[in-house]
């Protein structure tokens, strides 16, 4: 179509070249290098020493690794069901013929566009045990609020509450999209058959939302295994190790203790966990369909 073969090659090089070179240098090579680093012991000062699967063996026996995995799972168990239930609830409310619908949607989405750092700082202040708003509200109903972020029993709960608050709008928007794809005729038919609202929810809405739910669980799981910003700003993994999650652990190993090899091995462990959970979920999804 356009000129000779050589000329065509130049065009392809012009369009694809910059992206492909950058992709190779900043994405592809780092991935491969990361795998290699994970087989070495490297403090960045001396040259890396190849130790084979040594880091992975250490990792399996390392109580700190399991502790950070446990903390991450605890975070997910608290965060995921809450954010999904509330997000879906708000979406259902907003999906009806409501005045100021766009306004409310905008309000719920507000925290999603705000940075994790800003949100974490505001909530750290809200959770202030003496002058914070939350313990003030608790005192109004006669409850003495805990030392949220400095008490190992409540620190993770505070982080979960903050995270749920920030992400409700995100989940809501995904569910609103899903709800719009359900044909109104289904509800009309059900009404004729005498179904009540609750019946319609369990028999129509929830099953029809199955693909959205699948997507929401998948995305949220992937994101929440990588939870970091709010933890790093609000507690730094503390008190003690109460909120030390996987990525906080990786970050500290790499950039505070300069154990590059071990940190890389942990990051691959994180990949394997995320990958297996995704595969499991996809398999589960397929099974329920049949």
């Amino acid at each position: 179509m356009v000129g000779s073969k050589k000329f065509n090659f130049l065009w392809i090089a012009f369009f694809l070249g910059p992206g492909l070179v950058g992709f190779t240098i900043f994405v592809l090579i780092p991935i491969v290098t990361s795998l290699y680093i994970s087989f070495t012991e490297w403090d960045l000062l001396n040259s890396p020493v190849f130790i084979g699967l040594g880091n992975y063996q250490t990792l399996i026996a390392d109580p700190d690794f399991w502790m950070s995995l446990k903390n991450t799972v605890f975070f997910i168990l608290g965060y995921l069901p809450s954010v999904m239930a509330i997000g879906l609830g708000i979406a259902l409310l907003l999906n009806s013929k409501l005045k100021a619908r766009t306004f409310f949607r905008g309000v719920y989405f507000l925290p999603v566009v705000t940075s994790w750092v800003a949100v974490s700082l505001v909530w750290s202040w809200l959770f202030n045990p003496v002058y914070g708003l939350i313990n003030y509200f608790l005192s109004l109903v006669g409850v003495t609020g805990p030392n949220w972020l400095t008490d190992p029993k409540t620190a993770m709960i505070a982080i979960i509450i903050t995270s749920v608050w920030k992400d409700i709008g995100f989940i809501m928007v995904l569910y609103l999209g899903g709800l719009q794809n359900i044909s109104p005729s289904l509800y009309e038919a059900a009404s004729i058959d005498g179904a009540n609202e609750l019946n319609k929810f369990w028999k129509i809405t929830l099953p029809m939302l199955q693909p959205t739910t699948f997507f929401v669980v998948m995305i949220s799981l992937i994101n929440s295994f990588q939870v970091f910003d709010q933890v790093n700003v609000m507690t730094g993994g503390g008190p003690g190790n109460a909120t030390n999650v996987l990525v906080q652990n990786i970050y500290q190993s790499a950039f505070n203790f300069f154990e590059m090899g071990y940190a890389a091995a942990m990051s691959w462990a994180l990949f394997i966990i995320i990958f297996s959970v995704s595969i499991l979920q996809m398999w589960g999804e397929r099974r329920t369909k049949i």
């Binding site: 960045l44 914070g132 990588q226 890389a264 990051s267 691959w268």
Partner: protein
């Protein structure tokens, strides 16, 4: 009966909205309080005395202007670079014929499954070798090649019928004209989504600057804000003033382009 249902709906949705808004109100209210007024019980919603000094003090006590400048520079250049690279690559993958095209694109997609934490350690080492630690290049360049942009633009290009460009090629146009003059004007919604999404991600990013910036001179706003927190005592009125300053630009963009924001977030399925 229907009437009661609607009322309950409004009550629930409004109660929720208040919970969503309250932290923002508290943030703004604190930023106008004197140091003493942050430490009273019960807490004040309307600051007494009402002071705006915090917005001056936070610039005097901390290099806020540097943080602000760095954030603006990094966000703007990351966005421009991402748009350019994503448009060029997206066009190549959607509209050009070359060997291994689909295999290369599959490789792009496959890397999207790898969490950022896997890549960050070698990226840090790479940047160290380039001498890019604590520089704008280090903060900006790696982010430009995020695969998501290329993926989004490829999809956008695929959505445009080929007849359009065939006519242009007949008239003697080249790829550059076809891409930027003929097709791109039709892709404004996708471009807007990509622009806003990239800008927001870059503006809000914490982990990457935390790794790349080692001095206050190269810290971006999120990093600088995290540094405002004291070891023992935190001047919450100052911190909240800083947070308000960091949040205003992104909220302003959000108010003007709500639709693109929401679209961008749902399409990517990613949060920062």
């Amino acid at each position: 009966m229907k009437y009661i249902g609607t009322t309950i709906k409004y009550l629930l949705i409004s109660a929720g909205a208040i919970i969503m808004i309250l932290p923002f109100v508290w943030m703004i209210s604190t930023s106008f309080k004197s140091g003493g007024a942050t430490m009273v019980f019960p807490p004040q919603f309307i600051p007494d005395p009402f002071v705006s000094d915090n917005y001056v003090t936070v610039f005097e006590r901390f290099p806020m202007l540097t943080y602000l400048r760095n954030s603006i520079i990094v966000a703007i250049f990351t966005t421009l670079g991402t748009i350019l690279i994503s448009t060029l690559s997206g066009y190549a993958f959607a509209r050009m014929q070359f060997r291994f095209r689909d295999q290369i694109f599959l490789a792009y997609l496959a890397t999207m499954m790898i969490p950022a934490q896997v890549i960050m350690i070698p990226q840090f080492i790479l940047l160290k070798n380039f001498g890019w630690i604590d520089t704008y290049q280090g903060l900006i360049v790696p982010g430009i090649f995020a695969v998501f942009g290329t993926f989004l633009m490829r999809q956008a290009f695929l959505g445009i019928p080929k007849e359009l460009e065939e006519a242009a090629f007949m008239d003697g146009a080249n790829h550059l004209t076809v891409c930027f003059r003929v097709i791109l004007p039709l892709l404004k919604p996708s471009l807007a989504t990509l622009t806003i999404f990239t800008f927001m991600q870059s503006w809000n990013n914490y982990l990457w600057p935390l790794i790349v910036s080692s001095s206050r001179e190269m810290a971006t706003l999120p990093l600088g804000l995290a540094l405002l927190q004291g070891q023992r005592d935190t001047d919450w009125n100052l911190v909240m003033a800083g947070v308000v300053i960091s949040v205003i630009p992104i909220l302003a963009v959000y108010l003007f382009a709500q639709r693109s924001f929401i679209q961008g977030m749902t399409m990517s399925g990613m949060k920062e």
